[in-house]
Symmetry: C2
């Protein structure tokens, strides 16, 4: 089932590259044009068969495309969209994959003076801590959720096309209100990344940190896996979703202070009650959805 004659993927990294691979495998698109800054990365994307051809100029990449996916870091969305804007085809639907949504919507408004009806903000809830086209694989989105956050201005027909694109990539599509998306992702993704980065950095700054890391077991490796994620991308996310993230951070700081006070006071009841609630919640809502 064709979802596009010509697909332009702006940013052929983990997410853009994986989407291109998935749609190619599903035979859902005619031609795929990639775009990025580094010609060497693009050459590799062509070599790997991820895209058919590549352009470093966003305008050249989107010319003649009926479906455009913005898959650059959040901090680059506005500039890339602005560069592509003059060359967008009249029938083109544009979507993005950014991990925060209010900021991308603000970018679209800044570039076009309003939210275009053919612009569909989106976010695949899938990823790994790796980045770049070499890390891309066709199965990344299979049975994963994609959240679309259309606004009042958005054309339902455009939402439908983007939904079909993600379904062709094996994903399960849902729609969600923008602010709700940003709050939920701050809680389940952005705050955990901050904590993992902060913990590893705190340990790295301890005296004798090389020895300390040597005694880290499997639990530590899993817990800190997300601290191997791309720093630029996460810096962008933290700034783009600043308000929602800050709300969760401040709440977590207060909770952690209460827990630290309980440790200090030897208040075993508070510790046990907290740990029990947490285990019960994780076992009920997270466990069993693949791999413990």
């Amino acid at each position: 089932m064709a979802v596009a004659r010509r697909l332009a993927v702006l940013g052929v990294g983990l997410i853009g590259g994986s989407l291109a691979r998935a749609l190619r495998r599903a035979e859902a698109v005619g031609e795929i044009v990639g775009c990025g800054r580094d010609p060497a990365h693009l050459a590799r994307a062509v070599e790997l068969g991820v895209v058919d051809r590549a352009e470093t100029d966003p305008a050249a990449a989107v010319a003649g495309a009926d479906l455009v996916v913005l898959a650059v870091p959040l901090g680059a969305m506005r500039a890339v969209l602005a560069a592509a804007a003059p060359a967008l085809a009249a029938d083109a639907v544009v979507t993005d994959v950014g991990s925060a949504k209010a900021s991308v919507i603000a970018d679209a408004r800044a570039v076009f003076g309003r939210i275009p009806r053919w612009f569909v903000p989106g976010h695949p809830i899938a990823g790994t801590e790796r980045s770049g086209v070499e890390a891309a694989f066709a199965e990344l989105f299979e049975d994963h959720r994609v959240l679309l956050t259309p606004v009042a201005e958005t054309d339902p027909a455009a939402v439908e096309r983007v939904r079909r694109m993600w379904e062709a990539a094996g994903a399960v599509v849902e729609t969600m209100e923008v602010a709700h998306h940003d709050a939920v992702l701050a809680a389940t993704s952005h705050l955990p990344h901050m904590l993992a980065y902060a913990l590893v950095d705190a340990l790295a700054r301890l005296e004798g940190h090389e020895e300390i890391f040597r005694y880290a077991a499997g639990g530590f490796r899993d817990f800190t896996r997300i601290a191997s994620s791309d720093p630029v991308m996460w810096h962008d996310i933290c700034l783009a979703n600043r308000e929602a993230l800050l709300g969760m951070l401040r709440r977590f700081q207060a909770d952690l202070a209460r827990l630290a006070d309980a440790v200090e006071a030897g208040d075993g009841e508070t510790l046990l009650a907290t740990f029990r609630r947490a285990k019960a919640a994780r076992d009920a809502h997270v466990l069993g959805r693949g791999g413990g």
Copy 2:
């Protein structure tokens, strides 16, 4: 190579059960006697072939044993050791597997009025978030470190016997100073567990938390895996290693406050620098030691 004629394992759960299984597989012990509170758990341990026979009374379990392993939660160490004490054989070496060491040493001193020369404090750096004898498996300690923390009073010959026991189970044994052990483990294990529990509990207390967990991706599952660990065991660890844990917690709180302030101020430089240091440290010291 025999490391014991008769081994008594007090607490036949994940750690005690796995050690029993590993030593049995290595044909390193004659008889294995298990001990616990719940006869049903013990019956299961016999049924699974983890122990040869079982006792609910620690004194009965250690009678005639030349090697005794304390593998109960930290909060139970003192009582179990006191119950076993009158029946300990003259040639018996006693070791433990507790995740914090100063507290167990204090327990031994409380029970015997001094640190017995045949008591060897130890800690295998291996585990999973599961517990109980059903979760035990012989390979748990293979190529994992075991830290022994002998004190001035400890007989080197006793340390040597415990070392041989762990090596027979496939582990790599090192010795470490008690306070250093407790500080290192507070950093790499106890603090991460507190953070994982605190995060899951914070999310579980949000309105609409069931929906929120639904949008958690693989990164969240890995990050929170340790929050599925046994609450009682971790409550014990937090209280037993209170001082070292509190030191790390207070330090982390200060670091997190700085990071939150950077988010609030839109200070991208601080965020980027922190994330970069963390990724570099994890990639250098943790990655590549199995599974990313």
